[in-house]
Symmetry: C2
Subunit: 576 residues, 2 copies
């Protein structure tokens, strides 16, 4: 029987509630956004008693469906002030689903200045005081909890950045290899820190297989779906071989690889940090080029990256992190980037916000461009220790820009702009400007169609068709984010005719429904509008759906284009 | 012949322009806000090339009218993101007016990384490179420029805070005693710093007396007006005797003196920092209890405050500064507060933003409550040196709150809330919430009617009548801010029937007009609506016209009231 867990940190009570009828059809992002919109006052302080932190597995999480193990986290964001959804792999989503937990809602703030943990099992959730692990970073927390509670325990945890309530703090999820996946964007770790919850442990004993209404239908659809993932050249070949970092050379070639804090669109040393170089390095050092972030992943875009002595260094080593510390900060040493990636996971900083922030920190002159060792030092000596400089950096790219009075600060709604220059890849600029989340490439990944020729082709250098492209992708993504599926299922879904129907068939078979493609589109629209309405009530309007001024003023080589959408053209986005 | 000076820092050109017909009837705030609204794109970056810094004397500046020597400065604020007007005494307004300068508009950003100064004389304005005074603070700049250009030179300058483009940086104006008056609020010093202008010097040689259309009528009105100022108990007695600091004991008695970062409404040690104690201290040490901030001031609410050895320590020592470092930071030593006041003038930090910020810094645990010497150290060792901690502090109260993840952060639109608790003095809460400027008591000083029984009486503890009171005062203030008059002329204008007509008569006599009281009200409405429209286009809406959440959650002793206006009640403000 599905249930809602509710934890009140003010009066230290927990409840197991029935799932309200209006939430029953939702999962993942659709459910966390629905709950936040229903229960969080939009103008509340994100770190105050009225914000709530919500976790929900997807509609298909816990089933045998390939790539369905993403957990959604939602709250009002301390980084952006908007509603925020961030999803991650790891083992927690499937544990939630198999324990029958549709969502967990954490509300209130403790009255006492103490730290706590939550422990979930088949009977519900308990609140415990925690002292031992306070001040520890994520890898130490995971190691200690596995010793304390057993290797199979699911873990959600914050590092010191979350304890410090830094706006770039993330929430880490233990993955099947006891490594870390992150609810990265939007500072949700600070929300967890404000509620004084160091970690959430999940005991899966007694978890039952997810009930599937029509098992035969499910099996057929799941097979078709998995085949589509494996057949598509991006999800079946490029991602497993090179990881997401396959994009360095592709974006460099397109002139859309933001370099030196978004001054240029190409990075001379791109070969040193490319997916191809990374793959060869991993193989030469006895690492693993393929690795899944959750059980059931068949794309395997993660990897195990070893140092030059063959010892484990990092995994989940993504294009956006490598781009940012590489091209955007002009660091040419892939090993330094890998170390920083691991440190950001450990301290609990969103690695996208982190690298965009370091580019701005270099703009401010805190360390010179190219100084990879300087970044490692800032992470361990400043951010992890919560020094004043660490506080500025831990607040993200906008925080550094404000503190140093800079104008070249690539943020939208105060969230750092990721790895694709919006002047050269104009569709993604529309996504950055309009998404309910602050700058976020995953919200409507036009790179697929602008650069990778997936789902057709829209010329990235021209304005034509970009608003419609971004809109369609944002609607589809909101729906996919509700299923617990990894966003990369979008590649086959856009190109292989059987893929999307199979996904819908799995949902129908799971719940005994008969949803159509239109229903899925309507779900996506409903989610976007629910989030947008929250943001409007929180004080956002069209004037916030804008890119920073410098994109309109400074042409970016090699195409020497500026961001040239008019306000009216951008605002067309919300006409649906 | 009145003229507009236009300085373009991008192409390093200056122009003398005719006054456009639509600006001719405006002065002071009415003119700076009109120009900013007309020429600055509302969504531009405040420190970028599209922001403009505008100075304008008032309609009556340069005339013999009492208290008419305030200079208005306007721009888009880097602190609040709103339009911003801040006016100050000193000698510059009268020099502008007598040189026939209706306004000066500074636009663009230099291409080279050099510092500059502007020099104004009867022929116009020139741009000069400056090296000697860069890195110097305001008192040193004034001393050096008097040596370089003569004692009579008018000076506008920024300290190191402005050079660092800190969001709390102000613009200093030399006063008749070579001390400092400040365009304090909203970070206009950072705008001047972004344009790389260290100072503006004004040579008054060749300045002609301001032409008055009807000198006899003017003389009669000016006499009536001055008599009203002297006759009113607040402007004629309380302010000259105790300065604005007369308010410490009054607000403490009312339970509206925010104490320990707005935890309480009364401060046990209020006697140690009160206006009465200050007056006795000044007299005992051979200082001056009365002092004018500009020639022609007959209220003389400033003072010369000496240290215990009888040496000059500070002047323009205001209630809000003393409240903030005293009650709000729990510092009991008036001499420490005076030293901090002088240091904030020297470094170029708004002393209101500064003291509210220090209260939040104490909340963050950076230094303990009550540590006055700690504040002095933070000013000289951190802010003045632009260290990372200094950058956080120099960004104002909101900056500290963000860096340390706090919720008890008394700001509206990111500007620090001054010296009157809105839970206990509810009218001023409406002003904080609704003014176009971010939290600003001067925008609609309901303390007059809520606490001082000026202009009638509206019970400060109740909601009734507060919105109307704040609206009427904000409209009137916008008009008064256009005349170049000190805001304290409002006390007699509210109580003495002849005062306001005499003020209008002076304007009519100066320009040969026949304005009525209704015209003045309409002017005030026009200014507010112009500013409000700018803010809306910049992305503000009703959701920003709110006080921080903690005011609604935490009752403040001794009355144990919370902020209890509904959104709808607040939003009634703009119904005019």
């Amino acid at each position: 029987m599905d249930k809602i867990l509710r934890v009140n940190m003010t009066d230290m009570t927990t409840k197991v509630e029935e799932v309200p009828a209006e939430w029953a059809g939702h999962g993942g992002r659709g459910l966390t956004s629905t709950i936040v919109a229903a229960e969080v006052p939009p103008t509340c302080h994100p770190l105050g008693p009225n914000n709530k932190l919500v976790f929900a597995p997807g509609l298909l999480s816990g089933t045998p469906a390939a790539n369905s193990g993403r957990l959604s986290a939602g709250a009002k964001s301390p980084l952006t002030g908007t509603i925020k959804e961030s999803n991650a792999g790891g083992t927690a989503a499937q544990l939630f689903a198999r324990l029958g937990i549709k969502a967990m809602i954490i509300e209130g703030l403790p009255k006492e200045d103490k730290w706590y943990s939550l422990h979930i099992d088949k009977d519900g959730v308990t609140i415990n005081e925690e002292t031992e692990l306070i001040g520890k970073n994520n890898f130490a927390v995971i190691e200690a909890l596995e010793a304390r509670l057993g290797k199979k325990t699911g873990i959600l945890t914050i590092g010191t950045a979350g304890e410090f309530r830094m706006a770039a703090a993330n929430i880490s999820v233990k993955d099947p290899d006891s490594k870390i996946r992150s609810h990265g964007r939007g500072g949700l770790g600070a929300v967890m820190g404000s509620k004084k919850i160091k970690f959430i442990s999940i005991n899966g004993e007694g978890a039952t297989p997810v009930k599937i209404a029509d098992p035969d239908k499910f099996k057929v659809a799941a097979r078709t779906f998995a085949k589509a993932l494996l057949d598509h050249p991006v999800s079946g070949q490029a991602l497993p071989t090179y990881g997401t970092n396959v994009l360095v050379n592709i974006l460099n070639e397109a002139g859309g690889l933001p370099t030196k804090n978004f001054r240029y669109g190409q990075f001379e040393a791109h070969d040193k940090i490319s997916g191809e170089t990374m793959h060869d390095t991993i193989v030469a050092r006895g690492g693993r080029p393929k690795h899944g972030c959750h059980a059931g992943c068949i794309i395997q875009c993660s990897q195990v990256y070893n140092d030059k002595d063959g010892n484990y260094l990092t995994s989940g080593f993504e294009y956006e992190t490598i781009w940012g510390m590489g091209a955007d900060c002009c660091v040419e040493e892939l090993d330094d980037i890998a170390k920083a990636d691991s440190l950001m996971d450990d301290i609990g900083i969103d690695s996208i916000e982190g690298v965009v922030m370091f580019g701005v920190a270099m703009e401010a002159g805190i360390i010179p461009f190219g100084d990879g060792k300087g970044i490692l030092r800032l992470l361990t000596e400043e951010i992890a220790k919560g020094t004043p400089l660490g506080r500025i950096l831990g607040g993200g790219a906008g925080s550094v820009g404000n503190a140093y009075g800079l104008t070249r600060v690539p943020v939208v709604k105060n969230q750092g702009i990721p790895a694709y220059d919006p002047r050269t890849v104009k569709g993604i600029g529309i996504t950055y400007a309009t998404t309910t989340m602050g700058a976020d490439h995953t919200a409507g990944y036009t790179i697929a169609t602008n650069i990778l020729n997936v789902g057709g082709y829209v010329d990235p250098l021209k304005k034509d068709g970009q608003v419609e492209l971004s809109r369609n992708l944002q609607i589809a993504t909101a729906a996919v984010d509700s299923t617990g599926m990894c966003i990369f299922v979008a590649f086959p879904a856009l190109d292989i005719p059987e893929c999307l129907p199979a996904l819908i068939d799995m949902i129908n078979a799971r719940f005994g429904l008969s949803l159509t493609g239109d229903d899925v589109v309507n779900l996506g629209k409903y989610i976007l509008k629910t989030e947008h309405q929250f943001n409007i009530a929180a004080g956002f309007n069209n004037a916030h759906d804008r890119l920073p001024e410098f994109f309109a003023l400074d042409p970016v080589p090699p195409h020497n284009l500026v961001w040239d959408f008019t306000d009216e053209e951008i605002d067309e986005f919300w006409n649906f």
